[in-house]
């Protein structure tokens, strides 16, 4: 159990200085993620230009893993086609949950920083909350999302 593998520099940095951390009044889609047991809470905003995610931002509060994961998400999907963002969601999900997932650093980019979470099963829900929330936003789901 290596804490430094969980709290990598990238994670610590994105927790201290979350990117795209702002409300977006002009968002086309928004969704809420809330894990009541641990209290992680976020709102995800998405602006679409056709099939493309032209802007994405979030607000909320939570543990370092949940905040950093949401921050990294916004950087990773901004400018991507919706279909590509959903493929990325699948890849992140596999990285977080499957021991034998072929880590594809090229596809995951900075998101690979979250691969250490897999060794901490109690924390997977923190990292995945924002991704399920993005999925809900893209599918116009109105119920708040939870992953615990």
């Amino acid at each position: 159990m290596d804490l430094n593998d969980l709290y990598r520099d990238v994670i610590v940095d994105h927790n201290r200085h979350p990117r795209n951390f702002r409300p977006m009044p002009e968002a086309d889609r928004r969704a809420e993620g809330f894990n009541p047991l641990c209290g992680d809470r976020l709102t995800l905003y998405v602006k679409l230009d056709g099939d493309r995610i032209s802007d994405v931002s979030f607000q909320g509060s939570g543990c370092a893993i949940s905040v950093a994961s949401a921050s990294l998400l916004t950087e990773s999907v901004k400018g991507k086609l919706v279909a590509d963002a959903e493929r990325l969601f699948s890849a992140v999900h596999a990285m977080l949950t499957k021991d034998d997932a072929p880590a594809d650093p090229a596809a995951l980019g900075k998101l690979a920083a979250l691969s250490g979470v897999r060794a901490f099963p109690a924390r997977v829900k923190c990292a995945s909350l924002c991704w399920h929330t993005l999925d809900a936003a893209l599918h116009r789901q109105t119920e708040p999302v939870r992953t615990e």
């Binding site: 927790n15 641990c38 209290g39 543990c63 370092a64 109690a122």
Partner: protein, 417 residues
């Protein structure tokens, strides 16, 4: 001589090292470090004598109780009822008829809500709880309110984490039908001066239920001195097995209450026309009970009484004072819940570090704490925090372990602060 009696000779304090040797679970390495178990408010650990009582029962005695003429059934019944007598002594009830075995505090409260309160409540009647309550002393009352049209009122709390006595007085009304109050807050450790509340309620003829889940392992409980009507507690928080607990109820109230669940053991005679219910306390114990759990809980009572509840309280208070002083000196750490009378529970927040990150980092150092809302979301809401970190101590914890906690908080600071 077992560890408890060896320790008891060492007056006036407890011999913590001897005590720890009696808890096999404590002697283990977690993530490369000796286990430092500071999650006792969630569940305590068990001494070998409790584990032995349970396994001896299964190895030598097990049979169903109250129904066999054979030797094992008689021995099992004797052990089971012997445990009930131990529990009676533990809370100083007048009679074993007042001691109902249940799964735990939660079931005890639900039993009272459904069997005592529900038939007596109507629209506009009121049940009074405090804002400090564990969800188990909120939700069963909400359910019975939905069933009857009664209203649930919550006594406000103070910034220090006390129940607001003046507000309590102003909330008492002609319609108050029951006061359900925690004895010790699980989230904050506040010891509620319940006798003041009971006196006021009884003067008005309002029955009182106390949630003693956090109190029973840490204070000497005397239901006659408290003069409460119901007292609920759980075995697993007081060195006993999981899945067993006790409802104490004043006999005249229990006698007037209908059974909660129907089945075997709670009847004297059954026909399709009519069923005659069994006497107290069996009327409330339908089905085969958790025999081994009751016997294990009886052994836990023996163990705690041998150590001495007063000496346990003293030892834990010493730990609380030491831990409070050490944690207070950490910059950015805020202790949540600062009532003058507290059990050994320290709930806190750390600036810039979420409790769950702290919990993970402490775990990597072998230190087990709780991070979350502690099943007391209204308390968290009061303080405006989603969660706290909570270190809760038992008599087998040491100052060295407090020092390790403080050191590991420093490590979290270095990593994330």
């Amino acid at each position: 001589m077992n560890a408890a009696s060896a320790a008891a000779l060492d007056q006036p304090g407890l011999d913590v090292e001897a005590i720890r040797r009696g808890f096999p679970v404590l002697a283990q390495i977690v993530h490369g470090k000796p286990l430092c178990y500071l999650d006792n408010a969630a569940s305590s650990q068990r001494p070998q004598c409790v584990i032995d009582a349970v396994s001896d029962y299964y190895e030598t005695t097990h049979a169903n109780v109250h129904r066999g003429v054979h030797a094992l059934s008689q021995r099992a019944t004797d052990l089971f009822e012997g445990a009930r007598e131990k529990l009676r002594g533990f809370v100083n009830a007048r009679s074993v008829r007042e001691l109902v075995f249940v799964r735990g505090t939660t079931e005890a409260i639900n039993l009272v809500a459904q069997s005592y309160a529900r038939p007596r409540l109507g629209p506009g009647d009121e049940i009074l709880v405090s804002r400090l309550e564990h969800h188990a002393n909120i939700v069963p009352w909400q359910m019975v309110c939905q069933q009857t049209g009664a209203l649930l009122r919550a006594i406000p709390m103070t910034r220090r984490g006390e129940v607001d006595f003046e507000a309590f007085l102003s909330l008492l009304s002609e319609r108050t039908r029951l006061l359900a109050l925690t004895h010790v807050s699980n989230a904050l450790g506040t010891i509620v001066p319940v006798q003041r509340y009971i006196a006021e309620a009884r003067r008005r003829g309002i029955p009182v239920l106390l949630d003693g889940a956090q109190a029973a392992p840490h204070l000497a409980v005397d239901v006659q001195a408290l003069d409460c009507d119901f007292y609920c507690f759980s075995g697993h928080k007081m060195c006993g097995p999981t899945g067993i607990g006790v409802l104490y109820g004043r006999e005249e109230l229990l006698a007037a209450m209908p059974p909660w669940q129907g089945g075997g053991d709670m009847i004297l005679a059954v026909s399709f026309e009519r069923t005659v219910y069994n006497d107290l306390p069996y009327k409330f114990e339908a089905g085969t009970p958790h025999i081994a759990g009751a016997i294990g809980l009886g052994a836990a009572v023996d163990y705690l009484q041998e150590l001495g509840l007063d000496r346990i309280a003293t030892a834990e208070h010493d730990l609380l004072e030491y831990a409070t002083a050490r944690l207070s000196s950490i910059a950015g750490l805020e202790i949540i819940g600062t009532a003058p009378e507290k059990a050994a529970v320290l709930s806190f927040t750390l600036e810039g570090i979420h409790p769950h990150d702290l919990g993970t980092i402490l775990d990597s150092e072998g230190i087990a704490i709780r991070a979350g809302h502690h099943c007391a979301m209204p308390v968290m809401e009061f303080y405006g925090v989603p969660a706290t970190a909570r270190a809760s101590f038992a008599f087998y914890n040491t100052r060295t372990e407090v020092d390790r906690l403080v050191g590991a908080i420093g490590l979290a600071r270095e990593m994330l602060g």
